[in-house]
Symmetry: C2
Subunit: 145 residues, 2 copies
DNA sequence: ATGATAAAAGACAAAAATATCTTTTATTGA
DNA sequence: TCAATAAAAGATATTTTTGTCTTTTATCAT
C-alpha cells in the first residue's frame, strides 16, 4: 500500500511526460504517453479524460490532436492533478480515518499526523507540472518501470 | 483516497484502544474493541489475527481471554502496526510508483517526496503504541466515528 | 473431564479500484 | 464532402480491498 493510488501515480507520470513534450512543442497521443510511462493504455485514457474534464490537462481530437499543456497550465501545482483523480482526502483527512477529528476536536494522532499532511500538501503545491521538463528533456530522469 | 488504508486505520485505532485497556489492567474481547473504535467486528478480527501472528499484539483464548499488550509491547512504535497490516511500501516506495527509483537513481519527484516519506517514517517510529494511554483514559480523546 | 468462552482459521460475499473493449464525437487534411 | 485520426463516452471484466459467516482450536472454571 503506497501513499498514492495507482490511478494517481499514472496521472502524475503522464502529466510530467506530457509537460515535457509540450515544452518541446508537441501534442501527445494516448498511445505514446502510455508507452513512455509504462501504464495500461485504456486505463490511462480514463484518467486523462478525468483530468481533461477538470481542466487540468488540455486536449484536441482528430489528426495531430492529443494531450498538451499551455504555458499557464505548466505552472499549475501537482496538487491539482492529485485532487482531480483522488479528491482532497489526502490533504484534509484524519490519519485514523475519524470524521470528527479537526483542529478544535483532535484525534490522538492529530498533531503528529498534521505535520506529515502539511509537508505533503506543501510539496504538492510547490511542485509544478512543468518543474522537471529540462531534467526530462536532458534524459536525467525517466518515467517508466 | 486517504494516506492509510481502511485496514490500517482500524488497526491503529484498535491498538490504541487495547493499549489503554491494558494500561488499566484489562484484556479486551473483539466485540468490545469493535464497539469502541466503530469498526466491523469480523473484519477487525482478521486484522487483529494478523497483528497477533506478527507478534505486535498479544492474545489469549478462552474465558477472560482477549487482546492485550505487555509493558514492552506498549513501547513499540506505531510503525510496527502499519508494517504488519500494509507492508513497508509506505516507508520505502517511490511516490510515482517507479520500481527503479532509488537514492542513486532517483525519479523526478524523489528529492521532494523523500522529505514527506521521511517525516511519515519518523512520526510512526517515534509514536509508541502506548503514547496516548493517559489522554484516552482521561477522556481527552475518543476513537470512534 | 466437561461445558462455556473467546480467538484462530477458512470459506465466502460485496464493494471499490484497476483494467479492457466498443461505439460515438470532434477535428483535420485531402 | 469525405476519409482518417484521435479523444470522449459507455459498457463490461478482473483484481484487490473490505466485510461476513461458519467451523476449529485453545483456555478457563467448575
Amino acid at each position: 500500500m503506497a501513499i498514492f493510488s495507482k490511478t494517481c501515480e499514472y496521472a502524475m507520470r503522464a502529466v510530467f511526460y506530457v509537460a515535457q513534450r509540450s515544452h518541446e512543442g508537441y501534442k501527445v497521443g494516448i498511445k505514446e504517453i502510455a508507452g513512455h510511462i509504462n501504464s495500461p493504455e485504456p486505463f490511462l485514457a480514463k484518467i486523462l479524460q478525468q483530468l481533461s474534464r477538470d481542466g487540468v490537462i488540455l486536449s484536441t481530437k482528430g489528426p495531430n490532436g492529443g494531450f498538451y499543456f499551455d504555458a499557464a497550465s505548466l505552472n499549475r501545482p501537482l496538487a491539482d492533478v492529485v485532487t482531480a483523480v483522488d479528491g482532497d482526502d489526502i490533504f484534509t483527512g484524519c490519519g485514523l480515518g475519524l470524521t470528527y477529528c479537526s483542529e478544535s476536536n483532535p484525534c490522538p494522532l492529530h498533531e503528529e499526523f498534521k505535520k506529515v499532511r502539511n509537508q505533503l500538501t506543501h510539496m504538492l503545491h510547490t511542485t509544478t507540472i512543468g518543474k522537471f521538463n529540462l531534467g526530462l528533456i536532458k534524459g536525467k530522469f525517466t518515467l517508466n518501470k
